[in-house]
């Protein structure tokens, strides 16, 4: 039969692209959702679409996007990191305290924040990868440990903005062609992370470990090492985000960025990063952060109380995770159908 010879060649193309297609649908779904809520808010409130307000939303989303990217890297390996907020707080406090003592400190502050974040992330990664502790429990423990150490170090003090170096506060407020510097930095960081995950072998290995740890082990990867790397990367990004956040709000308290574990997870999951590992993109997570920032801003403009935010954030995690399951279910079904040759006709 002539059709039999043709079928494999015909099938090979869609089958290879099916996963990518699903992801593209998912990410464009996030974009569509963003447009819909944007339309609703701009209809209900005249202030929503002003350039000033959009700038505020972008600034609010920027730092969350970096943290969501950090969370996404860990989620892709089938783990979770609930200590992101504490890592941000820890590195921000230590760095800013150092800056307050050494007024003429320059770029080494950035290195310091990165190093602290990297160290904290490595501890997390070691616990999860080599201590064989479930990722939630390990990072729940380090979440309280890092926050506790910040408290102990701070002795109830806070670093006020007049004690911070001028350049730190000024640089985030700079504008390049009307776009806040903060947004530019964060977009760059997210893009670098995205390129790393998408095009570098090490990045692909992170996906491989997340999508099937056993297969990746048999393939010759070392899953433990890659999970450690993912956590270290997450710590690095969180350390940087902590410094940016401190520079943005000026006054560094011990509770800085507490509760960000929820927001970052919500952003990543809304942006299509699967909690079951192996799928999702950093760009998607950043879009998720933009969605959350829009919702926050819109709720404030509409005058709804603060706790609605918690409810919406929590429900959206569950809803987005459920959507992912249904997409995965449909994908599996259609793949199965192809294997049986049903969809060939």
């Amino acid at each position: 039969m002539p059709t039999k010879a043709i079928t494999p060649a015909v099938l090979a193309v869609p089958r290879r692209n099916l996963g990518e297609l699903a992801l593209r649908v998912r990410v464009s779904g996030v974009l569509a959702f963003l447009l819909i809520i944007g339309a609703i808010f701009s209809l209900r409130s005249s202030q929503f679409l002003t350039p000033q307000n959009l700038g505020v939303i972008a600034s609010n989303a920027a730092i969350l996007a970096v943290v969501a990217a950090a969370q996404a890297v860990v989620l892709i390996t089938r783990n979770v990191d609930v200590s992101v907020g504490s890592m941000m707080g820890f590195s921000a406090y230590l760095t800013c305290d150092f800056a307050a003592r050494h007024q003429n400190a320059g770029a080494e502050l950035i290195l310091m924040a990165l190093a602290i974040g990297l160290f904290l992330g490595t501890v997390n990664g070691w616990l999860v990868a080599y201590g064989r502790v479930s990722s939630l429990i390990a990072t729940l423990a380090t979440m309280s440990l890092y926050r506790g150490f910040t408290y102990l170090y701070a002795h109830g003090q806070e670093v006020t903005s007049n004690r911070l170096p001028r350049w730190m506060l000024r640089s985030v407020d700079l504008r390049i062609a009307g776009v806040p510097m903060l947004v530019v930095i964060c977009v760059l960081v997210v893009l670098v992370a995205a390129v790393f995950l998408r095009h570098y072998p090490l990045g692909r290995r992170i996906y491989a470990v997340g999508s099937n740890p056993v297969a990746s082990l048999f393939y010759g990867l070392r899953p433990h090492r890659i999970i450690l790397l993912a956590y270290a990367l997450s710590g690095l990004l969180c350390g940087f985000a902590g410094l940016l956040y401190a520079a943005r709000i000026g006054t560094v308290t011990v509770v800085l960025a507490s509760g960000w574990e929820m927001s970052s997870l919500a952003a990543a999951v809304i942006g299509g990063v699967s909690v079951a590992g192996g799928s999702g993109t950093v760009i998607g997570a950043a879009l998720g952060a933009l969605v959350l920032a829009c919702v926050d801003n819109g709720l404030v403009l509409l005058g709804l109380p603060e706790f609605w935010r918690m409810f919406i954030q929590g429900s959206s995690i569950v809803a987005a995770a459920a959507v992912d399951v249904f997409i995965g279910f449909g994908l599996r079904k259609s793949l199965q159908g192809r294997r049986l040759g049903r969809s060939a006709g």
Binding site: V80, V82, L127, Y130, G131, R132, V133, S134, L136, I137, A138, L140, A141, T142, M143, S144, L145, R147, G148, F149, Y151, L152, V209, P213, V214, S216, L217, P223, H224, M262, L265, A266, V269, V275, A276, P305, F307, W308, R309, M310, F311, I312, Q313, G314, S315, S316, I317, V318, A321, A322, V325
Partner: protein, 336 residues
């Protein structure tokens, strides 16, 4: 079944008892006020609320799942009780309402986990925020303090010459009931077998999904009981009740020797871990150790608790290495 097999303590449980006694001795040396019946009875207040949550969480963890939304479920329960009290409902009607709603919230978690096959961590992290928001939506941002005395009885009264808190008796009753359910009934047996090997349990004819929903609902019901104790102890209800308690609860369950991957653990272990944590917390409080230090100690204990299997296997490997140096070079295949 002979009496001796009623409860045979595991080595882990024995070490928990020893540690509790050591912590008690340490507390005595720290503070002259420690060794006092009234003080010790009062100190049980420290762990009864997280203890009730831990009993519920233990059932869920044995199944190989986790529920970190329990503290938020507690908040919904306490706000509901406040609403009932504001509408002058008698307590015997209010409690079933709160227990019912909280078990429904638990069952919703269970449904999402079991039926949709979502990871329990993502689900309960989401519902942790959603239920906390729900509690605020029901009760608004204002706290409610105007409770009828009948609502406060469980959490605040003491019996037997004004010594033993009623809430402590409630906790003991709940612990005995959970111990009976987990170690003496078919339901408990099934929980352990599902946690141990889900697929094998399914092939053996166990309705895994229904079992999971039931376990999550049970945990929700325990959260409602904890809410009842909460309003008795603090006399107030607000949406942010018990915020941050979940660390203590998870620590107690893990330190109690319950395997976080499911299938292993005992109720007496969890209860002993609660006594240990309660003693440590009480001692630190009497010694004027500030809250952040207590959090650090708690977090370290959690790490030690979860690293326990890894540490003991490391010790085992070192021992084997010392016994036969030639065989030590063979490495174990890492479990992904």
């Amino acid at each position: 079944m002979n009496r001796a097999s009623l409860w045979r303590p595991t080595p882990w449980e024995v070490s928990l008892v020893v540690l509790t006694i050591a912590a008690g001795a340490w507390s005595v040396s720290l503070s002259p006020y420690y060794l006092n019946v009234d003080q010790i009875a009062y100190s049980t207040r420290q762990f009864i609320i997280p203890g009730l949550l831990a009993l519920g969480l233990m059932v869920v963890v044995v199944l190989g799942e986790i529920d970190i939304s329990l503290a938020s479920t507690l908040a919904v329960g306490s706000v509901l009780l406040a609403k009932c009290s504001a509408h002058h409902l008698p307590v015997f009607m209010a409690v079933p309402i709160a227990v019912g709603v909280c078990s429904l919230l638990g069952a919703l978690n269970g449904f999402l986990v079991a039926q949709l096959r979502l990871p329990s961590l993502a689900v309960t992290l989401g519902t942790m925020g959603a239920y906390r928001g729900l509690a605020f939506i029901i009760g608004s941002e204002m706290g409610y303090t105007d409770f009828d005395d009948s609502y406060l009885f469980l959490g605040s009264e003491r019996l037997f010459g004004d010594v033993v808190p009623v809430s402590f008796l409630l906790f003991l009753g709940a612990a005995l009931a959970t111990g009976f359910i987990m170690h003496r009934t078919v339901f408990g047996r099934r929980c352990f077998s599902v946690g141990h090997n889900r697929d094998a349990a399914w092939f053996a004819g166990i309705d895994v999904q229904r079992l999971k929903i039931q376990a999550f609902a049970l945990a929700g019901a325990f959260a409602a009981l904890a809410a009842l104790v909460w309003i008795g102890q603090y006399g107030s209800a607000r949406g942010d009740n018990a915020d941050g308690t979940i660390l203590f609860v998870v620590t107690a369950v893990v330190l109690g020797g319950v395997d976080i991957n499911g299938g292993r653990g005992t109720v007496p272990g969890v209860v002993l871990a609660l006594f240990l944590l309660g003693t440590i917390r009480n001692g630190m409080g009497l010694a004027n150790i500030p809250g952040p230090t207590q959090t650090v100690v708690l977090g370290s204990l959690l790490v030690v608790g979860v690293l326990h299997p890894a540490l003991s296997s490391a010790v085992h490997r070192v021992r084997r290495f010392l016994r036969s140096p030639t065989k030590a070079s063979r490495t174990t295949v890492p479990a992904p």
